[in-house]
């Protein structure tokens, strides 16, 4: 669309005579792979990955709710799957994704107020997000096992 506009504009003589420049290799803006990987970068990507994981995790929550509404037999069947080794592994991952995404989301909300943009704060948040999500996830599962 923009190229259509350009060709319709009256151009100075010399521009019309010039060679088409479309095949000239222009420098591209720096892309991700030329940067040294940083924790802040990783945490940003992980926020999106955990969001996507939670998207499909909601399916598990709804499965559990529908099983509960269906009746004791089907609920026992789903609880068995959830309680199996693989089931617990998935739920542990789900817990971590939820905690990590929640902390990362809070950081986004703080950024939205225009605060927390100096490099120290950004670096601190990235570390707090990683360490905090692991600590809280393990703590929640410890509480869970002590209740069981």
């Amino acid at each position: 669309m923009s190229s259509d506009l350009v060709t319709k504009l009256p151009l100075p003589e010399e521009t019309l005579m010039a060679e088409p420049k479309s095949n000239i290799e222009r420098p591209l803006s720096p892309h991700l792979q030329i940067y040294r990987p940083m924790l802040t970068m990783t945490m940003s990507i992980v926020h999106r990955m955990t969001g996507a994981a939670l998207y499909f995790g909601t399916l598990l929550l709804v499965w559990w709710l529908v099983a509960l509404a269906t009746g004791p037999d089907y609920f026992a069947y789903v609880q068995n799957i959830a309680g199996s080794f693989i089931g617990r592994l998935v739920l542990f991952g789900y817990t971590w994704a939820l905690v990590h995404h929640a902390i990362g989301g809070l950081r986004h909300l703080i950024w939205d107020t225009g605060r927390g943009f100096d490099l120290n704060a950004i670096e601190w948040f990235a570390r707090a997000n990683l360490v905090g999500s692991i600590v809280i996830t393990v703590a929640l599962w410890a509480i869970g096992y002590s209740v069981l």
Binding site: G51, L65, L68, A69, P72, F75, A102, L106, G144, V147
Partner: protein, 126 residues
């Protein structure tokens, strides 16, 4: 003819015609999700080790059911908005993009309706 000023007629319209609205709803549901997710975790932990009847009446009890309904509505809307942004960022073919956005909408709607139905059934009995 329109009496709007040129600026007035484009205000609030981004490339997607509703960008700022999308952004705002994503933030609003983020804020709502924080307390709801915390309550959700507490409810799930307190349901551990309980039998069918106990869990069913816990989730169906008015306070818990209302919290779950609020969580489902907020979280499903939030994840629907979020997934749309992911699709817009990574899916570039126009046809595939529209298809992905339709699938996202239907998936989120079905998930949300199923959850709301299950919670209401647990609350109202039957």
């Amino acid at each position: 003819m329109s009496f709007k000023t040129p600026l007035g007629s484009v205000r609030g319209l981004g490339s997607a015609k509703s960008g700022s609205e999308h952004f705002w709803r994503q933030r609003l549901t983020s804020v709502a999700n924080v307390p709801l997710v915390i309550l959700f975790v507490i409810i799930v932990i307190s349901s551990l080790g309980k039998g069918y009847g106990e869990v069913a009446s816990l989730i169906g009890s008015p306070l818990v059911a209302i919290i779950f309904l609020a969580l489902i509505i907020s979280a499903v809307y939030h994840m629907y908005l979020g997934m749309q942004v992911i699709i817009e960022d990574y899916v570039h073919g126009e046809g595939v993009k529209i298809a992905a956005i339709i699938v996202n909408t239907f998936f989120s709607a079905v998930i949300g309706i199923a959850a709301v139905f299950a919670i209401l059934k647990l609350s109202f009995g039957g």
